[in-house]
Every structure is written in C-alpha cells, then in structure tokens.
Symmetry: C2
C-alpha cells in the first residue's frame, strides 16, 4: 500500500532533476490527500454547509488551497496569467476567524463543486508544470520561485489538518466514513498520571535561513531562555483524567476560569468538552466520522481556556501549581529524547502523519525514553498540546514577502502556541522548528499536558508594533507633521469629502493603517477600508476593537520612541461602527465591494502588479454620480509592477514619452469625467533626521 | 612538470569541500605565479624603480594585489581585522594612470621588500583559511563572501599580465631571465597577409548572473548588434608587415594620425614601435628579458593609436578602408570557430595561459578553422588585438558593490576594448565573455588585425552619466533646489569658510561629485577632494579636465531629463588648478593627506565601516587652529557599518541611550573644542515627485 502522507523533501541536494521529482511527488501527494479529506463530506450539498457560524462553508476551503498557489504566484510575478480571476478572488481570504474577513454567505455566489474540482485540476497541472520547469538552483532559498510552490504545498498541509477539524465539528449525519482514514480500534481505562523531572537547561530556539527544511517566517531568528528544573506529566491528560474536573462541576465553577474563559463559557454554554456527546447520561466520544464509547485512555481534546481551567482545578486539588508547558520547556523535553527531525524522524514511534490512525490513540501507547531513564509519552504526536506561551517573533524575525501576514497578525499576545503535532499533522507541522498558534477558544486536534515549574519568561507584554513598516505607516498616518506638510490622510479625506456628491458609502482602497478610512466616516455613512496586507489592516481593526494602537517611531539607529494613539483623542469613538476593514486585492477585488459613492485609492496604482486590471472595471463598483480619486507620486518600480504593466514613465513604440497622468486620461476617459487635478505633498518619517518627501498628483474623476 | 598556470574553477558544482579545494589550488597558483613574475627583477633594488614615470615603482604592485584582498574583505565586512593598516593604505590605490592617483614618490615611504614578502605570507594564510572556512553554498553568486576571494584572485591574474608588461618596459639590465618563462625559440619571414570573409550575423553579447564562470561587472547584461558581411585579416599584423609602415615614414606623416595620435607622437617622440630597439641601423626586438633579432613573423606590439595609424596608411596604399575590428565582429569570428569556453578550452591550440611560451609566437603558428573552410590565425592568444569599440556598459549593467569603480571610470569613450587575450593572459582574461579596455596610448601585450567592414555601430556617444547613483549625486550637488531648501554643498562650503581660521589647505573628505571641493577653493588656496569611490571622483575630475559634466535627472519611471553643467556657468574656471581629487579610504587614509587648515566630512561618518578609526587620528592631519566639520543625519545602518562600530543610535551596557552627538563629544573632547552645532537640511531628488529630505547635524570643532 502506498503511503497516505509523504514526508516533505529537503531544500538542499545536488541533483536538480531528482529534487524536481521529489517536489512533484510531495505536491501531488498533498493535493490528492487534501481532496481525499473532502471525501468525508457525505455529498456535494455538504460543501455549502458551515461547521461553525463564524466560518465560510466548506466549498471555500476546497477552493482556497488551490487559489492560494495562483494568487501567490501572481503576486510574486512568477506567473502573469490567472486561471480564473473570479475563483481567485472569492476563495482568496477568509480562512481565519479574523475581523476583516467577510464570511457573510449572502455576499457570495458559490460555484458548483464540480466547477471547483475542474479548477483544482487546472491548478494541479499548472503547478506540476512549474515544478518541472521553473529555474531552480539548490539549495532552494526564500527568494527562489520554487519557494512559493513549496509555500503553497505547506499551506495546503495546514488545511489538511484544519479541514479535518472542521469536518469533525460537522453534524455526524453529514460525514461519511472513508476507507483510508482508520480510527484507532483500542482503548482502556485511563492510566494514572504522574510527574517526571526535567533538568535545567539553556534553551535556544529558532533556525537560520540555511536550514534544510522549509519554514514559515516565525521559525527563523534566535531566542534564548535559561530554564530551571521542572516537572512534566508523564501522559497527556486523558478523557479519564479530565472526567473528574467535569464531574466536579468544573465548567460551572467560575473560580477556575479567567475572564476570557468566562466569556467563552457564556457564549458556548458548554458543560463538558465539545467532542464529548452526552447520550442517555453517558459520555460518548465524537471521532472524525463516528460516535464511539468514551475512550478513557485517549487524550481529552479541549481548547486552551479549558486546559487552563483544568490546571487551576488540579492546582487547588493538590495544593501545588500546575501550568501548561512553555515553548522552551517543550524544547527542553524534546532535547532529552533522541528524536530526530525530518527526514530522519521515525514516524512509527509517534501518532503523526496519518501513519497509524485517523484518530487519537491511548496516552500510554507511544513512549519516548528520556535521558533521566524515565519514559514520557506522546512527546510528539497524538494530539497537539496547548502551551502557556503566546507566539511572538524571534530576534531577527522577518516576514516573507509572499505571505507577509502569515504570522504578524498573531503576534498579539492572544494566540497561544500549540506544541508537538497530532495524528493529522504532516509536512512542516511535524518539523522540530515549526510554530503554530491559535486563539485560546479555538479547537484543533489539541489537548494538553501539565508542568510544575518555576520558569517564568520575562514576558512583559510588548504592545508596541514590532513591525518596522507598520510602525512607519502608523507614524505617517497618525503621527506628527514634518516640514510643515499636513497629514496626508486628513488632507485627502477632506478633499474627497469636498468633491463627493452622494455620501452613503465610500471605499478607501489601499487603506494601509486606516486613518483616511476613519476620517471619511465623518462624511460617509459607511466606509470600507481594503488593503492587500492584513498586517496593515490589523492597525485599523485594533483601533476599532481595543480602542488604541501603540507603535514606535525611529529616532536614530536602533533608538525609538514609543507612541500610543486612541479613539477618544482622535475623536473617532462615534465612527467605530461606520467603518469595516477587509483584506483584498485591488487588481482582483471580490464582487461584493460595490455600490460606492466614493472610491479613493491613495498611493496605490504604482504599487499594483497590474494597475490596468484595477482601472478597467472600477467604474462598475461606483453608483451614479460616484467619484473616483487617484493619488500617486508615480514611482513606478519593477519590484512592484512589471514594466509591461506600468501606466506611464516609459517611451512608447514611437519613442514618445508617456506620462502617467496622460495615460490615466486615455484609460478613464470613456467612463469618467476628469474634474480636477492638484499636487499634494506628503512626508514619511524614516528617522528623526531622514524623511521621504513626495508630491502626489491627485486626480478626481466623476463617473459618466 | 606541474603547470605554471591553472585554469580557474567554475562557480557551480555539487561538492562543497571539493569546490573549496579547487578554489584553494587556484588561489595559491595565482599568488605564487604573481611572485614568480617579480623574480624577473634583477634584485630588490629594482622594486623601487618605475617602468614609466607616471606609474608607481614596482614595490607598489608587489604589495597591491595582497592588500586588495584585505581591503575588499574589510570593506565587505567579511573580516574586521586588518593585517597592516599602513600597507593597506599605501598599496591601496594608484594602479592606473588616473588623474586622482598620487604617484609622486616623495609622498611615500616605501617599505622593505622583505617586509612586503612577509606581509604577503600573512595574506596568503588568511585567504587560505577563509577559503576553507567561509560559509559557502553552490553555485557561488555575486553576494557570496567567496565571490570577494575570487575577485581578489582574478584581480591578481590581471596584475600578473600587466606587471609583465611593466617589467618588459624596464631597462633590460634590470631584468633577469627566469627558468619558467621560456621565450619562443623560432621565427621566420613574415607570411603574406590576406582577407577572409565572415558572413553576416546577429550578435548577442553579455552573460547572465547565472553564468558558471566569475565575471567582472562589465560582462553582465545584454547587447545586440546586427552585422553585415565583413572581411578580416588572416593573420595578426606581423613585425614584418608593420615594417613597411615604419620604413615609409609612417611615424612622421601626420595624415595617418588623429589628434590623440599626434599628441602621443609629440609626447613620446617615437619613430617606431616601443619594443623595437634600433641597434647599428638594425631593428632588434625587446622580449621580456632579452633583446633578440627582429622576429619578422611575430605580431607587432603597438598601442591603439599606432594600430589606427597603420590602418589609415594601408587604406591609402590599397585604396580601401581598413579598420580595427569591433567587439561584435570579434564575437562573430569567435562563433565561426569551434572554440569552447573554460573549462573546455583547449589551451594547446592557442598561445595563452603561459602554456607554450613566455613571449609572442609566429602569426602563422596557431590556426583556427572557421566554418567557411578557411583558416584564421590567433583568433585568441599570442597578443591582444586592439578594437575600434570603446568599452560601454551592456543593458542591465550594474556595478558590483565590492568594486564599484572597476569599469565605470572607463565608460568614457576613451578606453578601447582589447580582444582575444595574449600568451600572458590567464583566469578571467581568457574567458569568452571577459572585456578589458585601456586608454589608446597604453601598452599591453597587444597588437592588432584589421577588417574591411561596413558595420557601423550606432555609437552616438552618450556623454550623459549612465550611472544612476552618480547622476543622483550630480543632481544633488549641481542641480536644482527643492522645497525651498538651499544646495547643501554651497551651504556647507559657506559655513566652513565662516569658521575657518587659516585658509591655506582644505580637505573635503567624502567629496562625492566634488561640488563643495570647488566651492571651498573660493576661500582656500588648495583643496583636496577625497572619496572612497572613483566613480564619484570621476565627476569632479571630468569637470576639471573636460570643463563640463552631463548627467540625467529622473522624472517618472524610466523617463529622464538630460542636464549639462560647465565650469564657466559655475564660475569655477579660475579654481580648476586649486583642487585635486583622490581616491581614499577615510578609515585608513594615506599619510600624505596632512597639514590641513580645514577638514570637512559631510554625511560621511554614518557610511564608514569603522568611523572611530577616522575620528581617532584625524587631529594629526590638521594644522594648529585647524577646523574639523562633521555633518550627518546619523542614519546608521548595518550594511554600511556593523552595529559594534556605530557611534550612536544604540543602548549601552547600562541600558542608557547613546546619541551620536554625545558620543562625538566624548571621542573628540580631548583633542578638539566644540565651537558650534546647527541643523542644516538637504534634499536628494529620486524622481520628479519623490525626494529624500534630511536634516544633517553640523558640528564644528577646533583643534586644541
């Protein structure tokens, strides 16, 4: 029997053709395995069901992983031809329960499953072709076109696991059994848990750019922590062990829950774990595609809030403080085993990579010897283990250009790391250095083990934006004026209000950190702020949700000044409900962004990969009498826009100079009347003594 | 017998250790061969002789190739420890007959030869160690640290050949024979030359960054030319063929010489080729280390001016136009042979790489069959062949950061390409894509062949600076004011004049394109402008020598505006002789830069690799009452200055913020009194609508 899930290939090697072959096999295995996951849905109608009200229906996920390849390849200019612009827009964003994802289904006209299957085939062919023909040198590095392919593969590996979680949350009658996904067929009484000593250690986390396995941005860099001795539970907490907490009324007793936990209890109304099923006063267990008698010795699956509550309960019982492990403690445990990383990881010794079961297994089945001659179980595999560490960027953290919002929106102190991987984890998910984090109320194939530990990370929460570019834009939009040049967002919102005819709904396209979006809400009833990058949108959303944003401004060298802005001072308290932020691609905007009285695109057109795509159809999104405002210093550059897509700044076939403003007139003339052109200066601070000082040309167009 | 000269290794491969070994062998072969070249000098006293009055003595060249490794490795921050700062300063620049090189020997205290030998050993050890231990991935690319090593090796390969030329120009009694350098021992009557047809072709020159052989900046990029059929001489022009020209009074008849040629004749007083020796009314021939009877069938060795004069003479004789070949025509010939590039080049078939002789050989010895079934001789090898093509940058030309002035100073329409390589050429010099160019009055192991051709390159001379950064600085220093901010160079020269006490001699350190250097000459009797990059100095020198400088200013995208400035308009006609430009490293300045009344370093300190080295001894170069002026926006960045060398913009060990100005006070306090501090704005134009707008802090210090 061929393996259900292959290991990922390494990035290095000496034989280019062989490497292409390895990538090809890994890609096709991933793509096929993903489709197999959707065989669990009883029939095609189930694709239009949601497993959670806050999520898109399953059809979205089915299309999403395929469009991801095309969108990233387009964005990184590896390819320039889309397969289906419509699919690549509606399936583009909306994966996470993020404030800026629009999951309201009435806004979408989902295609037929057969159409999406057809589309996936085309993507598969495209990627297979690229794998064999892209320029390739070894090792594959982050700036290689092949890196984007591997990013797409590993992205799909994540969705293999998270889609399985969503399927498991579906009503059981919508799910069918699939031959290849075999549940573990044995269980017993829960073993008695105990504590094992782990000796102190200097822990170094993070990997270098030269590492021979693919990594997400958050894995690179350096972090050090000195640990004291601590103790860790021999087993993951089993359903049996957790049962005491439930039976003792743990879900009713608020003293075990923190504020976030209490809110979760109120909203969910849960009295016991979500995958337990109370039937005739007996707890049954919801596996992937089946409800089975409670496997007492399998790990309990809970979210981080429940895991923390259990620890508080047990601390009270034993009069001893139990905690979830930290990331560094997990590494200390890992390093006491003789575990090896891919490709030398022996999957036979752990419940990972679909190698044993398509379910959890007894917490005393997979043993790992550790150097103290004890046995510790499920160091990796079975279910993920919630940690007490919120994910953060290591020293030297850098986003990858192709996926700049993979991690940064989670660096908010609210996303807890999960450790060790599950039976459904594969690819990057089972690598030593990988790091995944979720909001604490999320469900995964995740449970926990506990530690008794005096290790406290110096985790003073850094509320200040650590992202250099975002901070620069915060200063630009919310900071001080320089050289007597007035704040550009305020200026533009004022100009826009002056020229607008109707003031029902406005779109701030390329809204960045959202200042103009808020300002426009002084005039418009409703304003949508759309940006390509969730990193940028995060600022507007944070201002909306938390009432403040904190960032730093560069002074000189590494020295910075902390700044904090808040809704009251800005005078935006009453505007909060009038603005909405969304992630979106101006060159391939979702159809539901329409019916605007104003569309304002500030300093956007010379940063688009194909600005013509934006301009050609933008009129369709405007109401009668709608106003379009473009501003730009026309700094065309090849790393944003291939030369063939520049709107100006070149000589045409006759050797005539083409200026952008003239070309805009040609392009827009049929559909718009040019009302007004003016220059507006803006200044972006780099340091206390260095600034970008530009002169945008503002052109104001009225829909004909 | 082991080979005298090895082939260079390729940049690609699969076995890192093997590649290190190959680089090591190639390096040591190069380093040893270079030292062997100096064995030709009769004794150590000859090291202090000059072979040409405009050149440094030979000791300079002996030290130069070793210091090159250290200077480039320091500059690129591969190493941070110098071996001998003094050697690495005096042996650093002065290779070429460039206006900005100070070759006045009284300014130098040359070390003993034994000391330089000792120094070379240390460099050899260092480089051998780095070759084995530097981080290395394959293929080696331009951003690899190993590239700097290979650059050093290929730089020494060039000097192997050019030093041999210099030795040959030395009086014969100062040169001894060296066993390994064997002259060709046969010659005969000159063969009768004839013309061979070469058919039209579409020629593409230039190579891509992925090419598997090391290349200098000028080799990369793309250039296309459509050729018509042309004819080329079967043989290089032999001494015998050239003799007619000499005997017909060719050197006396001015009609065969252009203006540059006439000036050359006047200055040199030559009546026949420089390597011919008239003894008792008979022409003898100066070989490397011997004077021999005239080898009539060896190629004549002349400079480009003489080669052109011969062509005019022969054109008149035959009533047919003879020209030197163009670069594209040379490639057309090359492509009709079955020549292969390194590592598959068969050196047995050509007089190259020291493989046959340490001299020229008969022009009818090395035959190459070409596709027209004719034989053509010395397509490569024997002696270089002057072309009619001035070197220029291909489309996509970019300087390499580590050697940004390798080519650009030669893109002046005055440096003619030499084609095909000589018996003393090796390494990059014998690669298909390499491109070397010299001033037309220079001597190399170079002769010529002629063509009859109607091919005219569209060689409208582009006088406008093609170097983006240089143009940007020309605009900054000589262009328009923006945002009402006054020209920074004028401002600073004025401030400097106001604070100066004595006004004899000033140093403009980091002078860039030299505006402030000229301006200071309004106040000072003598002003030296020093910059790290010869690219920048070239502008000041051109203004001095040609009376004008032409550059372009970016408008939008690729569109630019041409600008031309001249001495008269600037009012600098009377100042020309008061200013001198030199290339120099502010962190390791030559001792002869001293006795100044003013040293002004504008926007320099935050671009130095180790600014402390500059500040610690700068007082020694100032006279009593001397003034030091520093200006900077303190934009410390790691790609200019490693963090450990920043003078400010960091937190110290106590967590206290260190500002640059405070640290400057600490560093300079003992030797200087701080007179004045003020802010001065400056604006650098990037495009018509985008500018860098900075605020320099100016601090003015008086020597205690």
């Amino acid at each position: 029997m061929s393996k259900l899930s292959l290991y990922p290939m390494t990035l290095d090697g000496t034989d280019i053709q062989k490497k292409r072959q390895e990538i090809k096999e890994y890609f096709n295995n991933t793509f096929d395995l993903y489709e197999k996951v959707f065989e669990l849905l009883k029939d095609d109608s189930v694709f239009y069901e949601k497993s959670e009200i806050t999520r898109h229906p399953m059809i979205f996920y089915f299309g999403h992983t395929a469009t991801f390849f095309v969108n990233k390849l387009i964005n990184m200019k590896v390819i320039s031809q889309r397969i289906d612009a419509s699919f690549e827009s509606i399936f583009a964003v909306g994966v996470d329960e993020m404030s800026w994802d629009d999951v309201d289904s009435k806004n979408y006209n989902w295609p037929e499953v057969s159409e999406v299957r057809e589309y996936r085939k085309k993507v598969k062919d495209l990627v297979n072709d690229l794998i064999m023909n892209l320029e390739l040198t070894l090792p594959i590095t982050q700036d290689s076109a092949m890196w984007i392919i591997i990013m797409g593969i590993e992205h799909e590996r994540i969705h293999i696991e998270t889609s399985l979680v969503l399927h498991r949350q579906m009503p059981i009658e919508l799910i069918k059994e699939v031959k290849d996904f075999v549940l573990c067929n044995h269980s017993d009484e829960a073993p008695v848990n105990s504590l094992i000593d782990i000796h102190s250690k200097e822990i170094k986390l993070g990997k270098t750019k030269e590492h021979n396995l693919y990594g997400w941005d958050n894995e690179y860099g350096e972090y050090k922590e000195s640990l004291n001795d601590f103790q860790v539970s021999k087993f993951l907490v089993s359903n049996g062990e957790y049962m005491n907490f439930v039976k003792d009324g743990g879900y009713e007793n608020k003293e075990f829950w923190d504020d976030e936990g209490k809110r979760f209890l109120d909203l969910s109304g849960l009295k016991y774990p979500v995958f337990w099923v109370l039937k005739n006063d007996k707890y049954m267990y919801r596996a992937l595609s089946k409800i089975i008698p409670m496997p007492q010795d399998w790990p309990v699956e809970v979210n981080a809030l429940e895991a923390e509550a259990f620890c508080r309960y047990k601390s009270k019982q034993d009069n001893k403080e139990y905690l979830l492990p930290s990331e560094a403690e997990d590494r200390a445990i890992y390093e006491q085993t003789n575990l090896k990383d891919i490709p030398n990881l022996h999957e036979s010794g752990a419940n990972i990579n679909f190698n044993h079961y398509a379910s959890s297994s007894p917490v005393n089945e997979f043993a790992f010897s550790i150097s103290t001659s004890d046995m510790l179980y499920d160091v990796i595999g079975n279910v993920w283990q919630w940690s007490r560490t919120p994910i953060f960027g290591f020293k030297g953290f850098e986003v990858h250009e192709a996926y700049d919002d993979f991690s940064t929106p989670t660096f908010d102190d609210k996303h807890a790391l999960i450790l060790g991987s599950s039976w459904a984890s594969s690819g990057n998910l089972i690598m030593k250095h990988s790091r995944y984090a979720f909001r604490k109320h999320f469900y995964q194939f995740a449970g926990f083990r506990y530690v008794v530990s005096k290790n406290t990370k110096n985790d003073e929460i850094d509320i200040y934006e650590s992202d250099e570019l975002i901070s620069q834009y915060c200063e630009f939009q919310y900071g001080d004026d320089n050289f007597g040049v007035r704040n550009f967002a305020l200026n533009m919102a004022e100009i826009a209000s002056k020229f607008s005819i109707n003031t029902n709904k406005a779109l701030d396209l390329g809204c960045a950190t959202g200042r103009a979006t808020f300002e426009l809400a002084k005039t418009f009833k409703k304003v949508d702020g759309v940006d390509f990058s969730a990193r940028f949108i995060g600022v507007g959303v944070k201002l909306q949700e938390s009432g403040f944003v904190a960032f730093h401004t560069n002074i000189e060298g590494d020295l910075t000044q902390n700044k904090k802005i808040n809704l009251e001072e800005l005078g935006y308290e009453k505007l909060v409900n009038k603005v909405s932020f969304y992630q979106g691609d101006a060159c391939n905007l979702k159809p539901n962004f329409n019916s605007y009285d104003l569309i304002m695109a500030t300093n956007l057109i010379d940063r688009l990969y194909n600005p013509m795509l934006f301009l050609q159809t933008i009129d369709e999104r405007l109401n009668d009498d709608g106003i379009l405002i473009l501003t730009s210093p026309y700094t065309w550059q090849e790393n944003s826009t291939k030369k063939e897509f520049w709107l100006g700044g070149y000589k045409d076939e006759n050797g005539e100079e083409v200026r952008t403003i003239d070309n805009l007139k040609n392009i827009l003339n049929n559909k718009f009347k040019l009302l007004h052109v003016e220059d507006v200066e803006f200044v972006i601070r780099e340091t206390q003594r260095k600034y970008q000082h530009s002169i945008a040309e503002v052109s104001i167009w009225k829909k004909r």
